[in-house]
């Protein structure tokens, strides 16, 4: 449910639109409630990151079990072709805006099991992925880094350059808008598949 982009019109409306989008982005990035889809050993490291030692609730994440209330889907471990349907189903159950982190090399490329006939070579062939976290399994630090990268991505989402965004980010913003990395496009992609 991204806000509509204003192409023409007075500057006030543009600024107001950007302001609302900025607030929405801030709210989204600072309360990423997460659900994880674990099929492998990476979920152990995910537990580590959500427990006391690394505690990524500091950044506002909250483990909630129902996919209806979640924003962040963390795919951990190897995904077989049978399981890929379930991953797709799980992704469709999340309400927009939704984000995906692929945790561990098994979910990125298939890693050790790449030669197997029954393995999906990369979860990004099934659902759109926002951040890839390599590691076997990735350390909790790497996961926190990935979460912060995702937060940076959300912060710049759907914002038009110029209004509220600081000057340093304006160049990268134009790249982002050029690539059309919005979620509505992603959904279309996933539906086609």
């Amino acid at each position: 449910m991204s806000l509509r982009k204003v192409k023409r019109g007075p500057k006030v409306i543009k600024t107001l639109n950007n302001l609302i989008q900025y607030v929405a982005n801030w709210a989204r990035l600072s309360s990423l409630w997460s659900v994880h889809f674990e099929t492998g050993c990476c979920c152990v490291e995910f537990m580590a990151v959500s427990c006391s030692r690394y505690d990524w609730e500091r950044f506002g994440t909250l483990p909630i079990s129902s996919p209806r209330q979640n924003d962040l889907l963390v795919i951990e471990g190897i995904v077989s072709k049978k399981m890929a349907k379930r991953v797709k189903h799980m992704y469709d159950q999340l309400y927009d805006p939704k984000y995906v982190i692929a945790l561990g090399n098994c979910s990125i490329t298939g890693a050790l099991f790449k030669e197997s006939y029954s393995i999906v070579k990369g979860i990004d062939k099934v659902i759109p992925v926002d951040v890839f976290v390599p590691g076997c399994p990735p350390r909790p630090e790497a996961q926190i880094h990935a979460l912060r990268m995702l937060q940076e991505k959300i912060r710049k989402e759907n914002l038009e350059s110029g209004a509220i965004v600081p000057k340093n980010n304006s160049e990268s913003l134009e790249e982002k808008t050029g690539q059309k990395s919005t979620h509505s496009n992603k959904n279309k992609k996933s539906q086609e598949k």
Binding site: V23, A27, R58, G60, Y95
Partner: protein, 336 residues
């Protein structure tokens, strides 16, 4: 605009009812309570587990966390399930969030600060509590999902098991004070709080109250490991926010009722206003309930039912009998 209208608006702004509806126990109180308690719950639970909890949102101790959550829920979409009853799906969260606020109207925040002063204030509060399983049942049925239906059935089981000891233990208080009026009940505690006069009744009321407001260890209807999110499974976006809001209003109403019945309500030394005393007592009780959430595991539904029917109801009846004896043989404890 004519001066008459201005004076009318000014009168309305100055009236007590307006202040009650807007500040305490109105919109501002409920909103502030929810924001602070959700944040405090996450922080306290985190400290029990020796971690920080929300920290980086809002720079200082994650103080803006609940606001960010609420805004995010506002900006999130919600889709009714295909086979859901659309009207019930959309309407029940509104009722779940608004009905428990009626229980707050009966509670006295000072001697003359009650929204709806009534001789049957206690019964009003209980009547509002008794409505919650009905709403949960409609919610669970409307979503047409097996988890929500099981969750709503559990709500009914649990509320029946918790409601009867709740009423029976409150009966002891009514007998001691001789009135259903909550102001009278508080005023008759000037000598001694009822928590000291009948500790058994207070204990039964406390345990039954946890079951009634569906908090850990009795959060069986929303058991996350068994049912996905109980009767709230199918809700996303701001509808889920409304459900959680209703849950926390029920929490506020329950703790306020316990404070009013057993802990002397607004009574306290006179260096603070009575409204502050009731809020302080409520805060301590809320802290205790959050700590209980951090300490105990969840019970099974059959364990809860056996506690409710086999222990709490007999104990509540025993409490009533003991209170009758006290009143008959030692009438001086009533202050007469």
């Amino acid at each position: 605009m004519s001066p008459d209208l201005w004076s009318l608006i000014w009168d309305i702004l100055q009236s007590k009812l307006f202040l009650e509806l807007v500040f305490i126990p109105g919109i501002a109180f409920i909103a502030l309570f929810t924001v602070i308690v959700v944040w405090a719950e996450r922080k306290i639970l985190a400290r029990v587990m020796m971690r920080y909890g929300p920290l980086h949102v809002g720079k200082v101790a994650g103080i803006l966390q609940t606001i960010a959550d609420t805004l995010k829920l506002l900006f999130k979409e919600f889709i009714p399930p295909r086979r859901a009853h659309k009207a019930a799906y959309y309407l029940t969260p509104v009722f779940v969030a608004s009905v428990p606020t009626l229980a707050l109207t009966a509670i006295p925040f000072s001697k003359d600060w009650v929204v709806f002063p009534s001789d049957l204030g206690l019964l009003i509060a209980f009547a509002v509590f008794a409505l919650s399983p009905l709403l949960a049942m409609i919610t669970g049925w409307a979503c047409n999902n097996r988890y929500t239906v099981i969750g709503s059935l559990r709500v009914i089981f649990q509320d029946v098991a918790a409601e009867i000891p709740l009423l029976l233990s409150a009966l002891g208080v009514v007998m001691l004070s001789g009135s259903f009026n909550l102001v009278n009940i508080v005023e008759s505690q000037r000598r001694l709080w009822f928590a000291f006069l009948q500790p058994l009744g207070a204990l039964v009321f406390f345990i039954a109250l946890i079951g009634e407001i569906e908090r850990v260890p009795f959060d069986i209807p929303t058991a996350e490991q068994e049912l996905v999110f109980g009767w709230k499974t199918e809700y996303g976006g701001i509808l889920f926010g409304l459900l959680m809001f209703g849950e926390y209003i029920t929490f506020a109403a329950g703790t306020l009722l316990f404070v009013t019945l057993y802990l002397g309500g607004y009574l306290g030394p006179s260096f603070l206003p009575p409204m502050a005393w009731i809020l302080i007592k409520m805060g301590i009780l809320v802290f205790l309930l959050i700590l209980i959430r951090g300490a105990y595991p969840r019970l099974r539904i059959d364990q809860l039912l056996s506690i409710g029917w086999k222990w709490l109801i007999p104990l509540a009846i025993l409490n009533v009998l003991v209170t009758m004896d006290l009143i008959y043989f030692y009438p001086w404890i009533l202050g007469g």
